[in-house]
Symmetry: C2
Subunit: 480 residues, 2 copies
């Protein structure tokens, strides 16, 4: 493709994107295709000869678009969002065009130094301790994996890296503590890093689904008495099911007392700490060793962009650094080489989109959007509470509401309620009007609505409530 052809189709696609963002509400939120439908429309073999960009773009509209679930739809209330914004998309365009690899300082000094700067901006915005240093990772899964490995290496005097778990370095198994409400990535990462699922201790949660510090301490002591080696605590600020908030201060005091690494997964909720009135969710952060939150979830920055902070960068780089001859440069002692700060060697230029977003909105502009989302989530919660056919299943400290349809009151069985609410979920999602997802809380099937999309306004949240209320008329009398 020559440069003028690129220019021509670039302009065409910018118009398409602008129109798409303006009209995204006209699409069903959740794609309606059936399994295999898209695959069957793509030829089974690649073309020998090149095709025109017209044909490719036409197929993008005809084949791909119907199979898209519209994550930036203002009525997308599922999972946690992966939100974005105009400035972020423009920065992704520039990043794709530059096509650099930000693995070393010299492979693009601006990528490294801008990343250092914008990560420090985020540190200030969230009120993280001054000594925290940040690096952009792809996802919180990866950041938490880095944290677990750091914890493992600190516990073993950096000898598991060298000798492996089987090298006779440890006298007992290393143990990780997290709550039963923690994200599945904690257990997945514990498997990857060789701890094993069995050594992930699920600490009790309270009525608000937050970790109980007393139970944490009890389990640490019991493990020590059994010859096991407490290594790491992963606390969650904003659990995936219900945005429950583990109390960092008492957890941090326990972690310090017993010499455990404390990692905090605040993937969604970290963004809320840019609000002075929500800063309390990170109370005790000065006791934390590592911290991750995802600007790609709730700070209008395209996925992937996960902000990982560590108190002691040397613990991270000592754990992850490996330096073959072909990556050495003369400046290695003077500069930051982010290759040593993560799992992957290659790294995209992701600082650019953060810079575009923070400058374009300003911190106050970001705060305004988050306050809207928080307020509308509270309103939705109030609508649920006031309706005798619905009930709230968890506190709503942030932007996510867990609730269920229960026209039968206290006598209803969990099985009946699950069947009923699955039907509600299926019906509202198939309508295309909204997309919400579910979870389980203490075994109870729960609907779950998260307000976090860039374009969402109050009336979209109201429409979600109305869509849910409409299904009720159909479902109400179908018990058993």
């Amino acid at each position: 493709m020559d440069h003028e052809t690129f220019r021509r189709y670039g302009h065409e696609l910018i118009d398409w994107v602008a129109d798409y963002m303006r009209n995204v509400e006209t699409y069903p939120v959740l794609s309606r295709v059936s399994p295999g439908e898209i695959r069957d429309r793509v030829p089974p073999s690649p073309p020998e000869e090149g095709e025109t960009m017209e044909a490719v773009i036409e197929d993008f509209r005809r084949i791909i678009l119907p199979g898209i679930t519209h994550w930036n739809h203002p009525r997308f209330f599922a999972y946690f969002p992966a939100n974005h914004s105009g400035p972020s998309i423009l920065a992704e365009l520039l990043s794709a065009a530059l096509g650099i690899n930000a693995m070393l300082w010299q492979t693009s000094p601006a990528a490294t130094e801008l990343e250092e700067r914008v990560m420090d901006w985020l540190r200030q915005m969230l009120g993280l301790p001054g000594e925290f240093r940040g690096v952009i990772q792809d996802t919180a899964s990866t950041a938490t994996l880095c944290a677990l490995i750091c914890a493992r290496e600190r516990s073993s005097g950096f000898r598991i890296n060298e000798k492996g778990f089987m090298g006779g370095v440890m006298d007992g198994a290393l143990r990780i503590y997290t709550s039963g409400e923690a994200h599945s990535s904690v257990e997945k990462d514990a498997r990857i890093a060789g701890f094993g699922s069995q050594n992930v201790v699920k600490v009790d949660v309270d009525a608000a689904f937050a970790m109980v510090p007393e139970d944490l301490e009890k389990r640490i002591l019991a493990d020590r008495n059994s010859g096991l080696i407490p290594c790491c605590v992963v606390a969650t600020v904003g659990t995936t099911s219900s945005t429950a908030l583990d109390p960092l201060r008492p957890i941090g005091e326990i972690a310090r007392r017993y010499g455990l690494w404390l990692h905090v997964d605040a993937a969604l909720a970290g963004s809320a700490a840019i609000l002075p009135e929500k800063r309390w969710i990170l109370d005790g952060i000065e006791l934390v060793d590592s911290f991750v939150f995802n600007p790609h979830k709730w700070l209008f920055t395209n996925f992937d962009c996960s902000a990982f902070f560590v108190r002691d960068p040397e613990a991270l780089t000592r754990t992850l650094s490996i330096l073959p001859e072909y990556l050495k440069t003369d400046l290695d002692r003077q500069v930051t080489n982010f290759r040593d700060w993560g799992i992957q060697l290659g790294r995209r230029f992701r600082a650019l989109k953060l810079w575009f977003v923070i400058r374009s909105y300003g911190v106050e502009g970001l705060r305004t959007k988050l306050r809207d989302h928080l307020r509308w989530a509270q309103e939705f919660k109030e609508w649920v509470e006031k309706d005798p056919d619905f009930e709230i299943l968890a506190p709503v400290p942030l932007n996510t509401v867990c609730f269920r349809f229960n026209p039968w009151g206290e006598g209803a069985s969990a099985e009946d309620l699950e069947r009923l609410n699955k039907a509600v979920l299926d019906e509202v999602n198939r309508s295309g009007r909204i997309f919400i997802t579910h979870t389980k809380l203490k075994g109870d099937f729960s609907l779950r609505l998260c307000v976090g999309q860039t374009q969402t306004q109050r009336h979209h949240v109201r429409e979600a409530w109305e869509a849910l209320c409409e299904t009720r008329t159909v479902k109400k009398h179908r018990k058993g």
Copy 2:
């Protein structure tokens, strides 16, 4: 940013990108800034109020661009390329605009099904076995980590995931075999996965820097006799230093004989297998368990895009699957959920750019470009060979030439040659005309030139040679 503002700046930036790609040769390849220079030009704190997009774009040009090392410059010959193309950049724009997460089928069926299709296109293009199934990973580092964990789990009957390395599952340490020329990510991944560096056995290489199968077998047997447990072989097709080609067939036969998982890292060189005349580099591929190559290196597809293939997808998903309630869908038994095929849960829509690139070029169009690169690398090699002041340090089976300036002949010391060639490297790179990097081969400092950029033409390779020849006049008489 409203949609019309997005449209306006989108058009402005498309023009900027088209101009940039046309004029990229006017920039020095390697950025000339000093450490701290970019950082000092970015304010230490974020703005409270939003700024105009004019101001942000202006700062992009003024502050960021001088700190960019231009990876898509036609005279970028460093490392391995991270090349891209117009169709790929356009697809990245669309992917950023859609902003979906391809973790589950339902979170965008088109993303999952297009990925299945284009990965099968790649499988056919490279002549991989029919049973191979593919998934897009970010980098070969991550793909190789997945392979090592699969090998670990197969060796332990999937019990290390459950009980951990310390769970008494294994009687001895698990061992990984790779050549001394393998990429640093193999050892890094072995650390992450808990094997430890000490259990990465460096098999001897021959004069062409390829793994010696007889030495592999000898080491496996010696380990078995010592109570160690051979687990995995990582063969490299196209080593990072010199694109040496480990012979897959004899290695595969040994791996089969002793029941080891065989993973192949063909990060750069895999793309060459789309050429019928180069298909032999994968001879023996039917004996392989997993295989990775990077379309983002040499197939004109933006970083990141790493193509990972496995013979037995169930071994992969059984190793990496973890299914919390909030990720369950009704269709889980009927569809592919790529969340179970990698480390991360969240996934960008990367299949789109592969689809745009393969359709836009056609397989034959891609072959033409690769043949050009291969031919020009051979020409460069011939220029080096014919010049008495230079010498070739490794075979050139593909697009990468290892060589050094040696005006002194056989009597020169390795130290003198290293000093001299470091000075040459520094001078040509500082000139801004070309960017090449270095490696060490059997302890000898080697310059290294890789022909793989999308816009590179023969005259650019010739200019690289001329730039190198010019430094000779300065350096020739500075011995000792």
